[in-house]
């Protein structure tokens, strides 16, 4: 065998190799055949006599082995001379001679400071943690389930340093976005979320907005969207690893730039079949609602002071004491209920195992009529045939969401969403009165305000309109591994991920929309996503003296296709039939969309280590992507990482029991989105007998190059006091260059958005994880983890003269999400603010007095998009604790955030409508404008009193009107609504009692526990609005709209009770 690995082996022919393999195979077979075998049984326990479930038991020198069952029991065929190697993650492996004993009791010592911990790394390769030159965070199923969320992304909040989670909203079925170590791409439509890999197959986590504002009136901010990782049943997850840096993820090449989340699902274990049933019921409620003033009623005052009452604005006179007030906001939301039921069956034999699960998650939302219902099935099976191991995973899920319009959903079509109206409905109007006896919409100003100029009652929207989204998803993979020898194996894999989303949007006749759509409007969107991947991979592993080496080579192909269809139409001819069949042909429209993306990758990894002391790993990958121009489609991604376990050189000491420093460097990247290399044209228009066609406003670029991210990180892991205290530290730096973007640029180019390679994004930050076990008694233990991280994201060099990079079209209130070139915030915000007085050179004086425009009598505004905030937090932290006393355990997770600006667009809207409590200043009797005259620079102070009138630039304004104008002017200043938000959240608390002790005397039930859980029960924050975690239009690509709170569905808190039964 050694000859094969000699240098000369490079030259050996295929024939020789095959011969050698055959010889090897023969030797192996003869070894096993010669033994005098009998069946040995044994039990593996830890020093406190608890069984070590799943411990691996193998015969030294052979490939035969087994695993202990949940009670630590195993059986194995062995001869007396054999030596068993018994190991388990977290314990020091132990060698036991079989001898003549037929029943062995083996006690495993907990691994000193968990030195032997194994983690799942790129491509699913398991490695010892100490060998890694980069940071990997992993979470066990238990850790994830402590605050189980049907969206696994949400379960990560506060648990992994460097990971930032943003919930889209508190609506049923709402998604969340995850970014690791900051975003790398600014453009909308460019992902900053990590790759999700489940059982070795890339699993799509898009948040698909199937419609668009033009064809069916929906964009991200208009309703609720799920991120597709929600299709997985969190109960199926066995482990989850977060590969944060580029080096960790480098083997994924062009898909590695944003990190990777690797999920391994549960497998059956050898032994009797086990059935696990768990049921949970929970209730959720709006965490925090906006507060509306109840002092002043509807109305507004004209310039000359005349009260206009034909308005929903609340600038009118004081509400008389005997009026009925309606808590429209508070009454609108309901308590949501979730029924969450799971069942799984698993088991196995020596050569095979299976895991079968089913689940149903049925949630009603806090908005009446909304819900999210998810059903999942999974089958995982494994079968061994000698050296060949076959795995198959199949999962099927159905997820249905009943949702509502949250904000106006019809571009150019008028109308409004439920949330915008809820937060603006005057307190003296009973919002629940929304329908007339004849079924038409009850309108306060019917007959005086045209329907298209009116506002839809939120109850009309939730009861009459119909918006649903249904997704069926099938994923599966077949994986074959052939262990050629004990140092060489070959793996082949085929993976498939397919889903179909059907979105349905119906705007009921009689809605307050453009006249065109007042007889109803319907749209249906179909999105079919298909992903097929094949992988071939081979591993070599060999030890030479003190050197341990491994080599892995592989290749992969990926084929991703999406097919979209949109049908829409308006004006139902016969009332009551909601169908395209009931729409005249000229009012029906149909479009198709297809995207195709293919990728071929070839990769390799070589690693060498010396005496558990030094580890070095190099990887390389070459990708060929279909999305880039032919000449630029091939690109290479290298990485290098190493670790040095310096405690190996020190004398054993009780204080520092383990110490390692690590470092890595990597270059990864991203390819383009499909079709970015050509400029496409619009649909034809017909004018008389002529047909016109012209270019779209997005310019293609035939010279695109791949985006390149270069990054490095250094860090260390330290275990103190025999592992009772652990510290993991990382500092990282990454720079993404040749960013592929579609920025808004000078329209003089002929296009609004131009595909280009431009600009760099720089992220640097730090991650610290402190783990401790302050108390470790037999009956009482306390485990705690504190993690802390910060990231500083900056947009680097960009095209000269470009002042802003707007990732999306969206403007919320007066602010826009923006990245600022040349070292500015990646998660910036531009807006409008009051101008301050200027110095001699015409520059604004920081903190100078405000300029007042004498022509309006109000503060002068800087509307040239000044930068008004940075949405990136100063740091985020999580403090997770588990206290166990006998069979009772209590876990709680605190989520901490310091800094990061949030724009309170909901409050902005309340101010505009006169419902904000802020507008009660001076009982609305006066407002004062004070600063300097913008023309003369002289002092300017003017108080506007409600009952006086003022002549400004030739017009006479009543005081009441001026007070309204003052607040409108106030609302324009973005800074009036921006807070640098700190929070401390009790993210989750759960109390579990394990009844296993009571079940000792029977054989049927193996485990029973009950859990009470609360999530988001308390939030301490300086933010005055709703829960600051909400993001308007969450999940946009690029720098997105996190940190913008605008008329969203409030985030929720919940309480749950669940039982878990195993038999």
């Amino acid at each position: 065998m050694t000859t094969i690995l000699n240098k000369s082996s490079i030259k050996i022919t295929m024939r020789k190799l095959v011969t050698a393999l055959l010889v090897l195979l023969f030797l192996q077979l003869s070894h096993t055949a010669s033994a005098q075998e009998r069946t040995i049984s044994g039990t593996v326990v830890s020093p406190d006599a608890t069984p070590v479930a799943g411990a691996s038991v193998i015969i030294k020198g052979a490939t035969i082995g087994t695993h202990a069952d949940v009670n630590g029991n195993f059986t194995i065929k062995a001869s007396p001379s054999d030596v068993l190697i018994v190991s388990s993650v977290g314990y020091t492996a132990k060698e036991v001679k079989v001898g003549n004993s037929s029943a062995l009791s083996i006690t495993l010592e907990p691994a000193k400071s968990e030195l032997q911990e194994v983690v799942v790394t790129a491509l699913g390769i398991k490695k010892e943690r100490k060998a890694l030159g980069y940071a990997v965070s992993d979470l066990s199923a238990g850790e994830l389930m402590k605050n189980k969320n049907t969206n696994v992304v949400n379960s990560l909040a506060g648990k992994v340093p460097g990971v930032n989670i943003t919930q889209f909203s508190g609506a049923a079925g709402a998604g969340a976005s995850i970014t690791i170590r900051g975003g790398n791409s600014t453009s909308d439509g460019r992902q900053n979320q990590p790759l999700f890999v489940i059982d070795g197959i890339i699993y799509d986590n898009s948040t698909s907005v199937t419609g668009n504002t033009g064809t069916d009136g929906l964009s991200r901010s208009n309703t609720t969207y799920s991120n597709r990782i929600m299709d997985i049943n969190p109960e199926d997850i066995a482990t989850l690893s977060v590969l944060k840096g580029a080096a960790a993820a480098a083997l994924y090449g062009s898909r590695a730039a944003d990190g990777v989340v690797i999920i391994t699902t549960k497998q059956g274990k050898e032994g009797k079949a086990t059935v696990n049933v768990n049921s949970k019921i929970s209730t959720s409620w709006a965490n925090k609602l906006p507060e509306a003033q109840t002092v002043f009623g509807p109305g507004s005052y004209a310039t000359n002071g005349v009260l206009n009452t034909l308005t929903y604005d609340s600038w009118g006179p004081k509400i008389p004491a005997d009026s009925t007030l309606y808590d429209n906001i508070g009454r609108f939301f309901q308590n949501g209920i979730i029924y969450d039921n799971n069942v799984s069956l698993s088991g196995g034999t020596k050569t095979g195992s299976f895991y079968l699960s089913g689940s149903n998650f049925n949630q009603t939302g806090i908005i009446p009529g909304t819900d999210y219902n998810k059903t999942t099935f999974r089958f995982n099976g494994e079968q061994k045939y000698g050296r060949l191991t076959l795995n198959a995973n199949v999962a099927y899920s159905v997820a249905n969401t009943d949702r509502t319009l949250t904000t106006s959903g019809l571009y150019g079509g008028g109308g409004n969403g439920a949330m915008g109206a809820v937060y603006s409905w005057p307190q003296t109007f009973n919002m629940k009165h929304y329908i007339n006896p004849d079924g038409t919409q009850y309108r306060k100003f019917a007959g005086t305000v045209a329907l298209e100029d009116d506002i839809n009652n939120p109850y009309w929207i939730i009861n009459e309109d119909d918006l649903t989204s249904k997704t069926n998803r099938f994923t599966g993979g077949v994986n074959g591994n052939f262990a050629v020898t004990d140092w060489w194996d070959i793996t082949g894999k085929i993976g498939y991920d397919q889903y179909t989303t059907n979105d349905y949007t119906y705007i009921a006749p009689g809605s307050a929309v453009s006249p065109m759509y007042q007889s109803g409007r319907l749209s249906k969107d179909l999105l079919a996503y298909t992903y097929i991947t094949t992988t071939v991979m081979t591993n070599f592993h060999k030890t030479f003296g003190d050197f341990d080496t491994h080599l892995m080579l592989g290749s992969t192909t990926e084929n991703t296709t999406t097919e979209g269809q949109n049908h829409w139409g308006y004006n139902f001819v016969t009332a009551g039939t909601v169908s395209f069949n009931n729409i005249a042909p000229e009012n029906k429209f149909f479009t198709d969309g297809t995207t195709r993306k293919r990728l071929v990758g070839a990769y390799g990894e070589f690693g060498i280590s010396y005496k558990d002391l030094i580890y070095l790993t190099a990887t390389g990958r070459n990708d060929w992507s279909s999305t880039l121009p032919t000449s630029n489609r091939s690109y290479f991604y290298p990485s290098l990482s190493g670790s040095f376990v310096f405690t190996q050189l020190l004398h054993n000491n009780n204080f520092l029991s383990f110490g390692k420093i690590r470092g890595s460097w990597a270059q990864v990247g991203k390819d383009a989105n499909p079709y970015a290399t050509l400029t496409y044209v619009n649909s034809p228009i017909t004018i008389a007998s002529y047909t016109g066609i012209g270019n779209q406003y997005i310019s293609g670029n035939p010279f695109l190059k791949p985006e390149i991210q270069k990054s490095w990180e250094i860090g260390g892991e330290f275990k103190f006091l025999d592992g009772r205290l652990g510290l993991d530290y990382t500092y990282y730096h990454s720079q993404t260059q040749n960013q592929i973007a579609q920025p808004r640029l000078s329209n003089a180019s002929g296009y609004i958005l131009v595909s280009i390679n431009s600009g760099s994004v720089i992220n640097k930050g730090m991650e610290i994880a402190l783990t401790g076990r302050p108390i470790a008694k037999r009956d009482f233990s306390w485990d705690a983890t504190l993690n802390f991280s910060y990231n500083v994201g900056r947009l680097g060099q960009f095209i000269p003269g470009v002042a802003y990079f707007y990732p999306t079209d969206a403007q919320f209130g007066t602010v826009k999400a923006a990245s600022i070139p040349n070292g500015g915030y990646f998660l910036g915000m531009t807006g409008v603010k009051y101008l301050r007085e200027v110095d001699k050179n015409g520059n604004e004086i920081p903190n100078g007095r405000y300029q007042v425009d004498a022509k309006t009598g109000l503060y002068k505004l800087n509307t040239n998009n000044p930068i008004v905030g940075n949405r990136e937090p100063d740091f985020i932290a999580g403090f997770s604790n588990t206290l166990r006393y006998k069979n009772l355990s209590l876990s709680f997770l605190l989520d901490i955030r310091k800094g990061g600006d949030v724009y309170n667009g909901t409050e902005y809207s309340l101010v505009i409508n006169g419902l904000s409590k802020r507008t009660l200043e001076n009982n609305r009797q006066s407002v004062t404008v004070t600063g300097v005259d913008s023309q003369t620079g002289e002092d300017f102070t003017q108080t506007y009193e409600a009952d006086k009138s003022y002549v400004i630039n030739g017009t006479t304004y009543s005081g009441k009107n001026m007070i309204q104008r003052y607040w409108s002017n106030y609302a324009s200043n973005s800074l009036n609504f921006i807070t640098s938000v700190n929070w401390l959240k009790l993210r989750s608390v759960s109390l579990t009692y394990d009844f296993s002790n009571l079940l000792k005397n029977q054989k049927i039930i193996k485990g029973l526990s009950a859990t009470v859980t609360g999530t988001n029960l308390a939030t301490w924050t300086n933010y005055k609005g709703m829960d600051p975690e909400v993001s308007a239009a969450g999940g946009t690509g690029g720098s997105g709209s996190t940190g913008i709170d605008y008329l969203g569905v409030p985030a929720t808190a919940s309480g749950a009770f669940g039982i878990n039964l195993t038999f």
Binding site: G214, A302, T303, N304, V306, L307, N308, T309, L310, Y411, G412, T448, A450, T557, N587, D592, G593, R596, K597, R598, S626, L628, T630, R633, P674, T677, T679, V681, S683, I685, T686, A688, Y690, G692, I693, G694, N695, Y697, P743, R744, L745, S746, N747, A748, S749, G750, Y751, I752, V754, I756, I799, P800, G801, V802, A803, K855, T863, N865, G954, T955
Partner: protein, 663 residues
């Protein structure tokens, strides 16, 4: 095992060979791309969207020129307060994105087929578009734009006004020479893609010369460059009668809207901006020219075709249909005079009207005694029932009334300012032959017309690109400048006659098509009114007394909603009266009492060039935020507010003056 070896080797080979092909999937199968579109499909697109960009330019510059009054914030800032800080975006975006991006692609694909007329048309649109950009913004990216260079650059450099001007003139010269060629065999026929002139090349050549005349006239302030005889030569080669007029026909036969801004694609571009919504009204300045030209007190026969009317004194029958009514002809909004109504309510305070199908009472609270007395008198005059209770006056609007639905007495009389809105079937109209605007669905059912609209800005109006009457007025002006009063007078009368003829032809056509069933303002004028007008004091009757103001004001009336009025006014320094010996050419046009634009218009007196609206600032959100380095490289003051009063190149007497501003 041998087999495995071959299989593996074979697979690798197949992989390498098939890999390239397998990856070639980056062309969208659902959408054609810019290289595959036919030229005969490009041209209608360019023609349509050019009229669309010209429509918004015409609308906004008409607000600046005093033709229109608008309550839209951005347009009101041009028409009334002169505080313009925005409202300068759409012409820029619609030209560059919807027109310019297609010019080079059309030129190249036409060249490949020897389709010279399409190449020529590409040149014409380059000239039309960039000259419009120059007129508005002064300096723009030009030579580095995709349209001119064929290369798409993300941040194209700027050129100064002079370079753009000569570039446009060169494009017209190239177009003329291309139109004089014969297309290669196999080239697509010009008629198949030309909506404007149905492929009539001789008309295109006249069009090019007409544009050259229009552009040469821009140089009238430049002693060294203005050449009257060159202008006259171009006019002699340009349109010779109304038959040579170039226009885009507007239709009302489709509800399809465009991809970018969502406006109907078949309608008139001026309508899309000026007549689409309820925000525009006729200005008193324009109204006065139509009712009292040359202090004649004579009403122009075109007045009722241009000034909209609404129904009033409506009586309904038992089924709620209008049985009798009279027409309420709009008055103009006084922005430059005393502006009493605007001063009282604010510059953009004119209210929209509503319709009531049943009797409607509104109680007005009027504490001011004088105002109350006047209000009551107005009600009596209008014949409305009302009751008075202290400060409260309750007025009954009878069923069928078009009224202002507001309890503020200040706005009650705003029905006299009829808005200029008309319906298309894409925007609320139901009958393609009824373009009247109705204030509500009930009003439409009853037949209660809220506005009859205005000649140039209905969805079915012809959008004038270049007309014979403009040529006549240019000729009159040039002869006037040459001191040839006789020829100037002839051309002046020809211009008025040509415009009346053009209008009458269109009105006759509308009548034949059936529009007049619901809209009397679309019916032809009375010939006797025309004759009376032409012989009245409203029109100069002898060459000897002809003034430049006579010519330019008649041109102003005829051009109406057109950028050329704003261009002409700049050439004559508005009402400063400091051009040659022509005196005040646009008397009465001035800053109004609601003027608030001191920061933009820094000149202190009318004779100071910086007193007036001279150009538009570059759009912040589309250009300055992304290309400021290049903008500032050409004009150091591009981002300063008073760039609004900086003359563009052709508006300066000398290059020194122009470059002095840019420094």
């Amino acid at each position: 095992m041998k087999n495995i070896k071959y299989i593996v080797a074979g697979c690798i080979l197949i992989t390498i060979v098939s890999c390239k092909k397998w990856l070639d999937v980056n062309t969208d199968p659902d959408n054609p791309n810019s290289t595959s579109v036919l030229v005969q499909n490009r041209l209608p697109w360019i023609q349509h969207f050019y009229t669309y960009t010209a429509g918004v330019t015409n609308f906004r510059t008409s607000c600046q020129a005093g033709v229109l009054y608008s309550i839209t914030g951005s347009a009101n800032a041009l028409s009334t307060t002169w505080t313009a800080s925005s409202g300068n975006v759409t012409p820029y975006q619609t030209f560059f994105v919807e027109v310019s991006a297609n010019i080079n692609d059309m030129y190249k694909s036409a060249e490949a087929k020897g389709a010279y007329y399409y190449m020529a048309a590409a040149d014409v649109f380059s000239a039309l578009g960039f000259m419009q950009m120059l007129d508005l913004y002064g300096e723009m990216p030009y030579s580095q734009t995709t349209a001119i260079s064929g290369i798409s650059l993300p941040s194209p450099k700027y050129d100064d006004g002079k370079t753009i001007y000569y570039g446009c003139m060169a494009k017209l010269d190239e177009a003329i020479s291309l139109f004089n060629k014969t297309q290669d065999p196999g080239a697509p026929s010009f008629a198949s893609g030309d909506m404007w002139n149905n492929g009539d090349v001789s008309k295109w050549i006249k069009f090019c010369y007409g544009l050259k005349a229009r552009y040469m006239l821009k140089l009238s302030k430049k002693a060294d460059l203005f050449n009257a005889d060159s202008v006259l030569y171009c006019i002699s080669q340009g349109p010779q009668s109304n038959a040579d007029n170039v226009f885009q026909r507007g239709y009302n036969n489709s509800t399809v809207t465009d991809y970018l801004l969502g406006d109907p694609v078949v309608t008139n571009g001026n309508w899309d901006y000026a007549g689409y919504g309820s925000n525009q009204r006729i200005s008193q300045y324009y109204y006065n020219l139509l009712t009292n030209m040359r202090d004649s007190k004579v009403t122009d026969p075109r007045m009722s075709k241009i000034v909209p009317a609404s129904m009033t004194d409506i009586k309904l029958d038992a089924s709620g249909k209008v049985v009798s009514y009279s027409w309420n002809r709009s008055v103009g909004v006084d922005s430059y005079g005393a502006s009493e109504r605007l001063v009282a309510g604010g510059p953009a305070s004119i209210k929209a009207v509503s319709y009531t199908a049943s009797d409607k009472n509104i109680t007005y609270t009027i504490t001011d005694g004088t105002a109350k007395a006047k209000f009551i008198a107005d009600q009596q005059l209008a014949g409305r029932a009302f009751t008075v209770d202290g400060d409260n006056v309750t007025v009954t609007y009878k069923a069928g009334s078009i009224y202002v639905n507001d309890n503020n007495y200040l706005y009650a009389g705003d029905t006299s300012y009829v808005n200029m809105r008309t319906f298309s079937i894409a925007t609320g109209g139901e009958d393609p032959l009824d373009v009247d605007w109705y204030p509500s669905a009930d009003a439409m059912k009853a037949g209660a017309v809220g506005s009859t609209g205005s000649y140039q800005i209905r969805p079915v109006s012809d959008q004038e690109i270049l007309t014979y009457h403009e040529m006549c007025f240019i000729k009159a002006e040039v002869y006037m400048r040459k001191g040839d009063l006789a020829n100037a007078y002839t051309a002046y009368r020809q211009g008025i006659q040509a415009h009346l003829d053009m209008m009458q032809a269109k009105l006759t056509e509308w009548q034949a098509e059936g529009y007049t069933k619901t809209n009397p303002d679309m019916a032809p004028m009375n010939q006797s009114d025309i004759n009376a007008y032409l012989s009245s004091d409203a029109v100069c009757q002898d060459a000897g007394s002809l003034t430049m103001s006579d010519i330019m004001l008649q041109k102003y009336v005829a051009m109406g909603v057109s950028l050329e009025n704003y261009n002409d006014m700049r050439r004559f320094d508005f009402s400063a009266g400091d051009i040659g010996s022509f005196g005040t050419v646009y008397p009465g046009y001035d800053r109004g009492p609601l003027f608030a634009g001191e920061a933009l218009y820094t000149g202190g007196t009318p004779k100071d060039p910086r007193y007036w609206q001279r150009r538009w600032q570059l759009p912040t959100t589309l250009e300055l935020n992304y290309n400021s380095a290049n903008a500032l490289a050409v004009n150091a003051h591009a981002t300063e507010p008073n760039v609004w009063s900086m003359p563009v190149w052709w508006d300066c007497a000398t290059d020194d003056q122009y470059y002095g501003y840019l420094k």
